[in-house]
């Protein structure tokens, strides 16, 4: 298992992305292992969602490589990402209000036996997945419109488990949730990790991040600005990395070395 641990499940290297004049990402690296929650943090516009969209096949980088299990891959479409075992919950959840929980979980991926939808089988799988997340959604037949914001987030996270993914990307899953709902989502994230998945968690809430992440990767102005081990780093260190004071910047391989006396923000 220690051999396995050395090859990251997901590796992104030298990722660069421009939107016209905006440098959204410059030479960014990210590694995530199985059984690991990596938090991606940084101020608004730091490039977090852009990086997540590349893992999910929504955007393609201008430069840089993505590896899964050490093998270079291309992720031209969301379907390609799904085939590679990547599941994503975007900032807007993209669920269907008028459908029930089961239908939302299987949206576009309905189980069929002899060309007819196998509703019984889908409900069974839906119950099993919600249970594995310790979810409290009362019924897999509830229409989505009757669920709370937190329960919808649970459905969106449960949805990622259909098709047995290996990598789950969550973009701000606790934004605008109440504390009880946040508690449920954070508990789900712990469960995903327990199931052995690699989780990328984007969040602005440092308490949430430090509660469930193993490692924090900081982005600032589209660049890596520190990698912190949650078990040994303090709240203050994380905030310092986000707001500019460079704490242990990663040794940059391609970019010129930044001196720690550089004035931030540039």
């Amino acid at each position: 298992m220690s051999d396995e641990a050395r090859v990251p499940l997901l590796a992104m290297r030298g990722i660069t992305m421009r939107f016209g004049a905006v440098e959204a990402l410059v030479d960014v690296d990210l590694e995530v292992h199985a059984h690991e929650v990596v938090a991606l943090v940084g101020d608004n516009g730091a490039g977090k969602s852009t990086l997540a969209k590349m893992i999910s096949g929504v955007l393609q980088p201008d430069a840089g490589i993505i590896e899964i299990d050490g093998e270079p891959v291309t992720v031209p479409t969301p379907q390609a990402a799904a085939a590679l075992g990547v599941a994503t919950v975007f900032q807007d959840l993209a669920l269907c209000e008028n459908l029930d929980v089961t239908s939302n979980l299987f949206l576009g991926r309905e189980l069929r036996s002899r060309w007819v939808r196998d509703d019984g089988q889908m409900e069974e799988v839906a119950r099993r997945i919600l249970r594995s997340l310790s979810s409290r959604i009362p019924s897999v037949r509830s229409p989505l419109s009757t669920l709370s914001k937190g329960q919808r987030q649970s459905v969106a996270i449960a949805r990622t488990l259909i098709g047995s993914p290996r990598i789950v990307v969550l973009d701000e899953p606790t934004a605008a949730l109440s504390v009880v709902q946040t508690a449920e989502v954070l508990t789900h994230i712990e469960q995903l990790r327990n199931l052995g998945l690699a989780v990328v968690l984007i969040s602005h809430n440092m308490t949430d991040v430090r509660a469930v992440a193993d490692r924090i990767e900081v982005l600032r102005h589209g660049r890596n600005n520190g990698s912190l081990d949650v078990a040994t780093s303090s709240y203050e260190e994380v905030i310092a990395a986000i707001t500019g004071a460079p704490t242990e910047p990663r040794p940059a391989q391609h970019a010129p070395l930044r001196s720690s006396t550089t004035a931030w923000p540039a």
Binding site: M1, S2, A5, H35, R136, P138, S139, R141, S142, S145, T146, L147, S148, K149, S178, V179, V180, T182, A183, E184, L186, T187, I189, E190, N194, T207, R210, A211, V212, D214, D229, V230, A231, S234, Y235
Partner: protein, 403 residues
């Protein structure tokens, strides 16, 4: 759900009874449900659910409360509470757990929340307050229905002042009047105690040592602690440090403990020590990883837990010689590994204990699992509250705990 009560066998009335208890169990499981959700969750027809809910309402078993569901008003079916609610809170090293219950000791809602390593007192107490209010609201209740809150902390507590009585065990928390701050904030009485004491209270009231006069509860977790029950009441000691076995010296040459002493039990079996022992072979694990891997049959992780069991057992033997309990109940996160922890612990205790021919001491797993401490906090709040007794007498059913 597939647990549809069969319409074939059994008389009409036993079917009605079965459907009734199915509805009650389902309400318990989810805390509060609309009738539509109840129908979906039980597999019963809407008409049957409606009839049963009406009967249960008349019998005073359930309440109907109006709450909001995604901005809409909804009629929620909840369990009826006879006198008032109590809140139990366990603040752990990496988790917060809250249970909401009533004087029948029935838990009607619960929630846990992962916490950061070395979480800060202000943020955590904030989250406790918000979670309590949120949970109450979900049940269609308010703080006014709450008779009191119990809060368990992983440090020795002076229950008279509701503060931590020893320096350096829980950094940043020592100078905070947890009890006063929370009762000012929530406007309800708040009782603070040590988590192992609360585990002992719960297990000796509702759990594995419920029929025992003298017992010890051992909490094997990020640190180790014990709660001592003598003559059916909790023995806290003069300022709340009784049972702090995590800081008994085990190795005079050992590492310096965070309490400032050397070679404490916690420096040998605390989370940091267990994780460090595995680091060269496994890299960086969390305590939860060690536990789940041990349960999955990983030999290295199982070894570390078994060795911890033997070490804790040796210390418990000394405590048992001093106290002579009828039984030792083992809880805390490490107890989730069951006999992996318990067998070597029991063996170490028995090897050192004076063999008592009259009544050999038992070493057993806790019956309440990871919620023992939060339940104990809830019990503490209930026991600290005066109740109009006639109200309680109305309900002759035995106290039970929702599982």
């Amino acid at each position: 759900m597939s647990r549809r009560a069969g319409a074939t066998a059994g008389s009409q009335s036993s079917l009605r009874l079965a459907n009734r208890s199915l509805v009650v169990d389902t309400v318990k499981q989810y805390g509060g449900l609309t009738q539509v959700e109840l129908a979906a969750a039980t597999g019963l027809s809407a008409a049957t659910v409606s009839t049963i809910v009406r009967e249960l309402l008349a019998a005073g078993v359930v309440d109907i409360a109006t709450t909001t569901r995604s901005g809409r008003r909804a009629q929620m079916v909840t369990l009826a509470r006879r006198v008032g609610l109590a809140v139990g809170v366990q603040v752990g090293h990496r988790h917060l757990r809250i249970v909401l219950g009533d004087f029948t000791h029935e838990v009607i809602a619960e929630q846990s929340l992962p916490l950061p390593h070395e979480h800060r007192v202000d943020t955590t107490l904030d989250r406790v307050a918000l979670l309590v209010i949120d949970l109450l609201e979900q049940m269609g209740s308010t703080l006014e229905d709450v008779v009191g809150l119990g809060i368990g902390l992983p440090a020795p507590v002076d229950t008279a002042t509701g503060t931590i009585s020893v320096q350096d065990i829980m950094r940043g928390w020592e100078d905070v009047h947890v009890g006063r701050i929370m009762s000012e904030r929530l406007g309800r009485p708040v009782y603070v105690d040590n988590d192992a004491n609360l585990g002992a209270l719960a297990e000796s009231t509702l759990g594995a040592s419920a029929d025992r006069v003298d017992s010890v509860f051992v909490r094997a977790s990020y640190g180790t602690g014990a709660g001592i029950v003598l003559n059916r009441s909790l023995h806290r000691g003069f300022a709340g440090t009784a049972g702090e076995i995590g800081h008994l010296q085990l190795d005079p040459q050992g590492a310096i403990c965070r309490c400032g002493s050397r070679g404490c039990l916690d420096t040998v079996v605390g989370a940091t020590a267990l994780i460090d022992a595995l680091r060269s072979a496994y890299g960086s694990l969390t305590l939860r990883d060690v536990i789940s891997r041990a349960n999955d049959g990983d030999r290295g992780c199982a070894q570390v837990i078994s060795d911890a069991g033997a070490t804790i057992g040796a210390v418990i033997a000394s405590l048992a010689v001093a106290v002579n309990p009828q039984c030792v109940v083992v809880g805390g996160e490490l107890a989730e590994t069951g006999e992996l922890l318990l067998a070597p612990l029991r063996e170490a205790v028995n090897r050192r204990l004076l063999p008592n021919r009259v009544a050999p001491m038992e070493v057993v797993l806790g019956a309440l699992g990871t919620r023992a401490e939060a339940l104990g906090a809830m019990l503490l709040a209930l026991q600290s509250t005066d109740v109009p007794l006639d109200e309680l007498d109305r309900d002759a059913s035995a106290p039970g705990v929702l599982r």
